[in-house]
């Protein structure tokens, strides 16, 4: 059951963490810790209603801890190279690569971390508004508004 969740969402969770933590090694460590901690929570009989949302929540907390420990500027300097996608990383054609880069840049250009995270979870991780709201302890309407605004900003960036 738990391994099924891993098979189904592991890649998605890894993609989410890689997007937010550009250093590949650190991202992999956070990913491993995410699943180990989730399993430990199950062993400790913690009540979990939505396992997928719970995995994301654990990942989110670990990312926050990670940034707390390191200042963001240090990481950005460290990881300039690591953030560059490899030739195998992205879609095959060059035009696709350019487009993916543009989309990434547009999301990166969003003002706050919260905005970036919510847009990513909603449209790439495909989490529901309700799931994101529960995870971030916010009102669903608030999440909807942030998504809408974020989308508008990305659209403006892409269609300049």
């Amino acid at each position: 059951m738990f391994l099924e969740i891993y098979d189904k969402y592991g890649e998605q969770v890894m993609r989410h963490i890689s997007f937010r933590v550009s250093n590949n090694k650190e991202a992999q460590d956070i990913f491993q810790e995410t699943f180990l901690r989730t399993w430990k929570s199950l062993v400790n009989e913690q009540k979990i209603e939505n396992l997928r949302a719970f995995v994301y929540m654990v990942a989110r907390n670990l990312i926050i801890d990670f940034y707390r420990k390191k200042s963001r500027s240090d990481i950005a300097l460290d990881d300039l190279g690591a953030n560059e996608p490899s030739s195998n990383d992205l879609a095959d054609s060059t035009s696709d690569k350019i487009e993916v880069k543009k989309i990434k840049a547009a999301i990166e250009s969003l003002e706050t971390d919260n905005e970036r995270e919510i847009v990513y979870m909603r449209y790439i991780d495909d989490l529901s508004v309700k799931e994101i709201a529960t995870m971030m302890d916010k009102n669903p309407n608030n999440i909807r508004v942030i998504c809408h605004r974020g989308l508008k900003k990305i659209r403006n960036q892409l269609y300049v």
Partner: protein, 356 residues
């Protein structure tokens, strides 16, 4: 509105970004070991007690079983029945009401087994027990899809747990070669026995669709069992065995070629098995590689038997002709000797045919 939809579509393109698949696969193995070493006992007990069949058998719904540890439940069963229920459950089959009790006693036994070697052996034993259940079920009740699903799910679970323990022991630097060999043989036996039973079941399935579904299921189980065998056999010892088996098969081919057997259909089979063996070697699936090499060798054994049989037939016919020509009479007492040799030849042919 449309622009919004287009933007969302564009954002979703980021989903095509490939992740490091090897890392995900490697960590899956580690996670599996971690899960085996840190099991969620309570959930398992809940699952067992949520099973319909148990509720039908014991109408204890008013009691809150969910919060009881497994051993207390078994203890109550032992005290109230003097061990009778637990003992009676040992011969039960997956679709029987007592089956959950059997599984529960197994899990309790596993929970109180702290030595990893003993635990791995226990899982391998349980895997074989599940195959025996399948055999018994098929002979007594025919095709029982629900019961089979339960037995097969448990079978792969135990095979996987056996492999996880071996992997865990290896990762701690322990030499588990002998244990791995013993357990791989057990898992292989379970796989072969199961294959024999399920194949006949798939053939006897009533509809084409049912046949197809069962064949797919069998393939899936077979592949899972092979994966587990390869996990158990991930060591130098198994690698050497695989390479030796391939070498032996090639020698056999050389001999067969020298005897002019190169154009038979069995030779095609040989090449096909050897290709599979080479492919398994490149993937470091040593157990499968050895099995394929042995199958290849077996394919040639059949050719040899066939040729031997043909030669004996020819020899017999020639002898018959000679006898007809009256040459046998000149030999006098030699006739008895010839007839006894002939009898031996007949026996040889009969044994060759039965072997085939």
């Amino acid at each position: 509105m449309f622009k919004e939809v287009f933007t969302i579509r564009k954002i979703k393109k980021l989903r095509t970004e490939d992740m490091n698949k090897q890392f995900l696969v490697d960590f899956r193995g580690e996670l599996n070991i971690f899960m085996t070493n840190n099991p969620v006992m309570k959930k398992e007990v809940q699952r067992l007690f949520n099973m319909e069949s148990l509720n039908k058998f014991i109408n204890f719904n008013k009691l809150n079983f969910k919060s009881m540890p497994a051993f207390i439940i078994v203890l109550i069963a032992l005290i109230t029945t003097g061990g009778g229920v637990a003992a009676a459950s040992q011969t039960s089959l997956p679709s029987d009401a007592l089956y959950p009790v059997k599984i529960l006693t197994e899990e309790v036994r596993e929970a109180v087994t702290f030595n990893n070697t003993a635990k791995a052996k226990l899982h391998a034993k349980y895997a074989n027990d599940r195959v025996e259940e399948v055999q018994k079920m098929l002979s007594e009740k025919g095709i029982d899809p629900k019961g089979l699903e339960i037995a097969l799910a448990n079978l792969t679970k135990h095979a996987s747990q056996t492999a996880s323990i071996i992997e865990g022991e290896r990762s701690h630097g322990k030499n588990v070669n002998a244990l791995a060999k013993e357990l791989q043989n057990k898992i292989e036996k379970a796989k072969t026995d199961l294959e024999n039973n399920l194949d006949s079941m798939a053939v006897n399935a009533t509809s084409t669709e049912a046949r197809k579904t069962w064949k797919e299921k069998i393939e899936k189980i077979k592949s899972e069992m092979e994966d587990n065998e390869d996990r158990i056999g991930k060591s130098e010892e198994f690698k050497k065995e695989a390479e030796a088996a391939m070498l032996q098969a090639r020698k056999q081919l050389q001999e067969a070629s020298q005897n002019g057997l190169a154009s038979t259909t069995e030779l095609i089979k040989f090449n096909s098995f050897m290709d599979k063996a080479s492919s398994s070697i490149s993937k470091e699936h040593w157990v499968q590689a050895r099995q394929h090499a042995m199958q290849a060798e077996k394919a040639l054994e059949k050719v040899e038997n066939k040729i031997e049989k043909e030669e004996k037939k020819e020899f017999k016919m020639e002898k018959g002709k000679k006898l007809e020509n009256g040459e046998g009479e000149k030999k006098g007492n030699g006739r008895d000797k010839d007839s006894s040799t002939e009898k031996e030849d007949d026996e040889d042919i009969a044994s060759t045919t039965s072997e085939e």
